[in-house]
């Protein structure tokens, strides 16, 4: 059993080797996620211009209404920028991510099989499967929100003060623990949802068949999938920790440092997204080729 565990961990190393080789041989694999990053940069620039005459007529009234006049002046506009970006990028991510993810999966499959990956062709294939991909993303989002709400409910409603005294954990801290726990639970659930898109794109299956097949594949490749998701996610977690310190950068250094942190976040998200998608696609292809063999 122990031998199997170590084998599986080493196997992840092989998967990453193939993924990095694919990315090196065909840098065009970065293009789909790079398009998302470019859109995010343009969105950031638009939000950055909110205090200026060019964007103020459009963005000024809602900012004034929901956040206050002071956020249309230097340097407070920078303190609001991450929050504004979070709200504004949500529809962008929701609309573009399924498309670009699917395109990356397609391109990775071409490169791994020794063929040339073309963005246009794979985008075309991804557009054909756009609606089911979008529904899949909404289902995944819904599942994660349910996990979060359930643990929040347990922390708030089902944690009696008597238990808090026994455990010496106040309810506000239990709430924070439950927030982190919900991320952990989402991580444990993700392998079952991670292969639906490769099945949909590469095996051209319909949505619910792809979800069913994805769960089966995810169960059979559970441990390596967790590792392939966890390691890049840890880099993402570091970025989240840095973003939490953004206010101190703002106060102690320059307000513009917020831009630097956000730009760093975009670049890291680009690499994490590409790495995760390619490595999971490679693992899926190895699994399928193994069955075929």
């Amino acid at each position: 059993m122990k031998g199997n565990l170590i084998d599986k961990l080493f196997f992840c190393g092989d998967v990453w080797k193939i993924s990095f080789k694919s990315m090196w041989q065909c840098p065009a694999i970065f293009l789909p996620f790079a398009i998302i990053t470019l859109c995010e940069i343009i969105l950031l620039i638009i939000l950055l211009l909110s205090p200026h005459p060019i964007m103020e007529p459009l963005l000024g009234p809602p900012i004034r209404r929901f956040f206050g006049e002071m956020f249309l002046h230097y340097p407070y506009n920078f303190s609001l920028l991450p929050t504004l970006f979070e709200y504004a990028s949500l529809p962008l991510s929701l609309l573009l991510m399924p498309l670009m993810c699917a395109a990356t999966v397609g391109m990775t499959a071409f490169v791994v099989n020794g063929e040339k990956a073309k963005l246009k062709k794979n985008l075309g294939l991804a557009v054909k499967k756009y609606v089911p991909s979008l529904f899949l993303w909404i289902i995944v989002l819904f599942i994660y929100i349910c996990i979060f709400m359930l643990l929040k409910f347990l922390a708030v409603q089902c944690y009696p003060p008597a238990l808090a005294k026994i455990l010496h954990i106040p309810s506000w801290r239990m709430f924070t623990i439950c927030q982190y726990l919900s991320l952990f639970v989402c991580l444990l659930v993700e392998p079952f949802l991670a292969y639906a898109i490769p099945v949909m794109i590469l095996e051209k299956k319909k949505l619910f068949s792809a979800i069913k097949e994805g769960i089966i594949v995810g169960w059979s490749l559970y441990l390596p999938t967790i590792v392939l998701i966890l390691v890049p996610a840890l880099f993402g977690a570091c970025m989240v920790l840095i973003k939490q310190k953004m206010l101190s950068f703002f106060i102690n250094f320059l307000p513009e440092s917020v831009l630097g942190v956000m730009a760093g976040g975009f670049i890291l998200t680009l690499f994490i997204g590409v790495l995760m998608t390619t490595s999971l696609t490679v693992l899926f292809l190895i699994k399928r080729q193994g069955i075929n063999e």
Binding site: I45, L49, P51, H52, P53, I54, M55, E56, H73, Y74, P75, P255
Partner: protein, 300 residues
């Protein structure tokens, strides 16, 4: 051919973004940005004026002057001018400080608050140089030009307190009388406004400071008569009772005023405290035969 096309597209895109950023910048935003950096330097000087070097002072003043030169029409320009003058004040360069404060008054006469603050500060510079007569002239100018402003109300007391501190009793008394007359005029001319309410408070402060408790009580009674339904009247009645008990040592009168308070303002938040005081007086002075009213207890 494709590569050239792509690079032209890229260059056009980058130029558009750059143009967007440049054209988009408003003057006000640029002024705010420069001001933020200048204020960071200014904060260091305020934190420790004695330890800040001449170079730092020069840099900070230069930063403010740059903003004033580039954006003279900016809304907060007067504040920057005030900051420049304040830096000289903190560094004890009083003639230069006065020059800058006067500059502010000349350049921004419509900014009444800033001009008032500048005039106050000019007076302060004379005080720091131990030139009380010149300071007094400045303060009297404020009292004449801005008779209703809060700084004026404070200044009247301040002048009297100054004389009091230096044991110039005659001048102090004259100043207190001038102050009270001014407050009385405001009470008469601005009845029902915040000005009247503030003036009453200043009068009470003066009488309490001078330990003229009979006049304090008289003033409190005047407040009650002028606005019997107001919260201030209720508090004034409570204060009268407290004064009779704690200062004038007349528990029977105090008891009477507390009782009157409870009857007149039964819903007031101080009723419980008044009842407690009455019970305490009745217990401490049984010979007076006072009976506190029965409290309504809510049984849960």
């Amino acid at each position: 051919m494709n590569n050239i096309f792509m690079s032209v597209k890229c260059r056009t895109f980058i130029c558009m973004i750059g143009l967007l950023l440049l054209v988009g910048c408003s003057k006000e935003y640029m002024a705010e940005r420069m001001c933020w950096y200048a204020n960071k330097l200014y904060a260091q000087i305020i934190k420790n004026p004695d330890k800040s070097s001449e170079y730092e002072v020069k840099m900070t003043i230069g930063a403010f002057q740059d903003i004033l030169r580039i954006y003279p029409e900016w809304d907060n320009a007067s504040q920057l001018q005030f900051n420049i003058a304040n830096i000289y004040f903190l560094k004890k360069k009083y003639p230069q400080a006065r020059k800058e404060f006067k500059n502010l008054q000349d350049k921004y006469p419509e900014q009444i608050n800033m001009c008032l603050q500048a005039q106050m500060s000019i007076g302060r510079t004379y005080e720091m140089e131990k030139k009380w007569d010149k300071a007094l002239v400045c303060y009297q100018k404020i009292i004449t030009d801005y008779p209703v402003s809060y700084p004026t109300l404070q200044l009247l007391c301040y002048i009297a307190d100054y004389y009091d501190a230096y044991k110039q009793d005659d001048k102090a008394q004259e100043a207190y009388v001038q102050a009270i007359n001014h407050y009385e005029r405001l009470i008469k001319d601005y009845t029902g406004t915040q000005v009247e309410a503030t003036a009453w408070e200043f009068i009470l402060d003066i009488y309490k400071k001078q330990k003229q408790y009979d006049k304090t009580v008289e003033t409190l009674q005047r407040i009650i008569n002028a606005h019997p339904e107001s919260n201030r009247a209720a508090v004034a009645l409570y204060e009268m009772a407290a004064m009779y008990l704690d200062v004038l040592k007349k528990p029977e009168e105090a008891f009477g005023y507390y009782k009157s308070f409870v009857v007149k303002y039964p819903e007031h938040k101080l009723v419980q405290s008044a009842n407690t005081k009455m019970e305490s007086i009745a217990m401490s002075f049984p010979q007076l035969g006072l009976k506190p009213p029965i409290r309504k207890r809510i049984v849960e």
